[in-house]
Subunit: 348 residues, 2 copies
DNA sequence: AGTCGTGCAGCAAGCGCTTTCTACACAGCG
DNA sequence: CGCTGTGTAGAAAGCGCTTGCTGCACGACT
């Protein structure tokens, strides 16, 4: 039924070994022979059997990219950049690799299962993107898996995720703490003293780091934080909307709202507008990430730009062994404060 | 070095065959034996060798999802929905499948190469999303590949993509033409008579269909279209910005701008604002797709909602054989007009 | 002219798993 | 007490490919 190497070999009047060598191009084959083989491949419409090949060669051309939410451009942009460096078809790299992105949906179990699946496929590399869960048991489980993957020769890279010590994984970590701090300092510099903070889900490293940066800025300015000023939510627009209403209810005198990310900030803007408040005249708003749509908000969003594409590209190259890993296996990627129209001095 | 089935068998004091059967659970194994095997698996930290398994069983648990641009939520949302139905880890489905999304970047070659790669892996199913290239040669090549895939037992589903006759592929097609027509009719109903249109890239089916719908509406209302009113661009924000300036330059008397999609519409809004025009007082704007951020534009975007998640979910189920394919292998998915603040009656 | 590279091609042994077919108990039956 | 049926485990033959090693020409040496 399906065409095999042997069929091609028979048609080209050579041994299967020769066909294999022509296809892999890692062994001298006479030009005329090669031609003959290629012709046969073409005529027979032969397609290599991936599993068989992977089994025999004990290697695979699969590269896995794990993302928390594929519908979120934050991950989409990174994944795209990673993938373009992985080579994938048409990429810079020579060998054709199947770069595949796996959507964990933020679920720890899924993350683990995908890791196992990739381990099963003997993936050439795995890139994990975005914040990690802070659950200790889960982190240990992931660390164990990563270690096992590394040991098996799979290159493991973390992109926008905190380092995983002793796992052999290379980490390109976003400086969420520093970015959060810088952002809040900007607001403080404008004169704001009562700032609401809409944090992401509790058990995420990203959430914690950004919040820590925010608080560090407050502390540095001698501002005592009111516990009512922090609300936790999800990383999406609706959550930002609801959280903002909640913040407003708790303390209507807030003059600024700092959001966990840009989507949340957009929701916050909508909530403020619906509450009859002007931005930034009545309340300033700040986001995080600087996703493409942030500049289109009205007013444009003040936020922290994360070099998603650059970091992803670098992660991709490291995963392919095309770029050296940073010293110590850890690099910190800094964000850049983008001051735009959504932040201004407090009213009065 | 790596643990194999045989190792597990030895430790559990059974034959490799038994271990395999325990793992696959498709053959009666005594409870006590099963326990023993499972214990050994656990102790040895055994992970099945995917390629070997796929080779022996002549099947694979890989499902491919092709998208044009992974950074675009349009595709992200569909991919996420598809993937959640595919089962993936933690999904509804029993068997664990590796649902992988492949980013073609809109390149025909990449699309073809990914298809070959998936064919190589003997993928269980393949879902192609989004518009297709209109290049005849490429379409023929893709059709040939799809046919071959179907014949080899891979289920092929097109989601938001026009049907591919004679390939055995099931198609869930978006009614881009109808949506485009409805949208423009809405604008005409408001009294607009001079409408600019920012189309997507020329060689895409989606582009053509939406434009055809737009023109059909114009024709139905007896409006003769000025060739200056149409500009082609890419499906992104910047393109929308530039195209709008161009439209304005060509004919400053336009009272409405219809965009190829929401991102383009956002760019159009920015360009209009930067040109000192108010929306919708001076110029109305309409998008397409109704991505999550569209409602946050100021004013909120009038657009056509495409049930991306629903269509994706359905495509996923069909790909898994969990839902029957529509009659004739083709279903048309309609959009829904969402009238919001960005459209209003023309000035004057 | 004899000998030794050198360049290419083939042989055959797996890679780690699945699955058919066979084998063996043991229980139930006449 | 022998026979068949049922439930469970094992032996072994591949799945389609890669690759170390062997083998054979042929030209280039001495």
């Amino acid at each position: 039924m399906t065409v095999t190497l042997a069929d091609v070999a028979a048609r080209a009047q050579v041994s299967p070994a020769t066909v294999s060598r022509v296809l892999n191009g890692n062994y001298p084959v006479a030009a005329t022979t090669r031609e003959r083989v290629l012709k046969a491949v073409d005529e027979l419409d032969y397609v290599l059997n991936g599993p068989a090949s992977a089994l025999a060669a004990a290697t695979s051309d699969l590269v896995g990219i794990l993302v928390n939410d594929i519908a979120d451009p934050f991950f989409g942009i990174m994944a795209g950049a990673i993938q373009s460096e992985i080579g994938g078809p048409g990429g810079r790299a020579g060998g054709e690799r199947l770069a595949v992105v796996c959507n964990t949906g933020g679920s720890p179990e899924r993350e683990l299962t995908y890791l196992t699946l990739l381990q099963r496929q003997r993936a050439a590399a795995v890139v994990l993107t975005g914040g990690a869960m802070e659950d200790a048991a889960h982190q240990a489980a992931v660390a164990a898996k990563l270690r096992r993957l590394s040991e098996a020769g799979t290159r493991v890279v973390l992109c926008g995720r905190p380092p995983a010590p002793e796992t052999g994984a290379v980490a390109l970590t976003f400086d969420n703490r520093g970015g959060g701090r810088e952002l809040t300092e900007h607001l403080l510099g404008l004169g704001h003293r009562r700032l609401g903070y809409i944090a992401g889900p509790r058990e995420r490293t990203t959430t914690r780091h950004r919040l820590e940066g925010h608080r560090a800025a407050l502390v540095a300015h001698g501002i005592e934080e009111d516990p009512r000023w922090t609300v936790h939510g999800r990383y999406d627009r609706q959550s930002g909307y609801e959280a903002t209403l909640e913040l407003l209810r708790r303390d209507p005198s807030l003059t600024a709202v700092v959001a966990a990310n840009d989507s949340v900030a957009l929701g916050a803007c909508a909530a403020l507008r619906d509450s009859g408040l002007r931005i930034p005249d009545d309340v300033s708003v700040a986001g995080f990430d600087d996703l493409p749509f942030s500049i289109d908000a009205v007013p444009a969003l003040t936020t922290v730009r994360l070099p998603l594409a650059e970091a992803g590209a670098r992660a991709g190259r490291v995963a392919m062994g095309r770029e050296e890993a940073p010293a110590g296996g850890i690099a910190t990627v800094r964000g850049e404060l983008m001051v735009r129209g959504s932040s201004g001095g407090p009213r009065g």
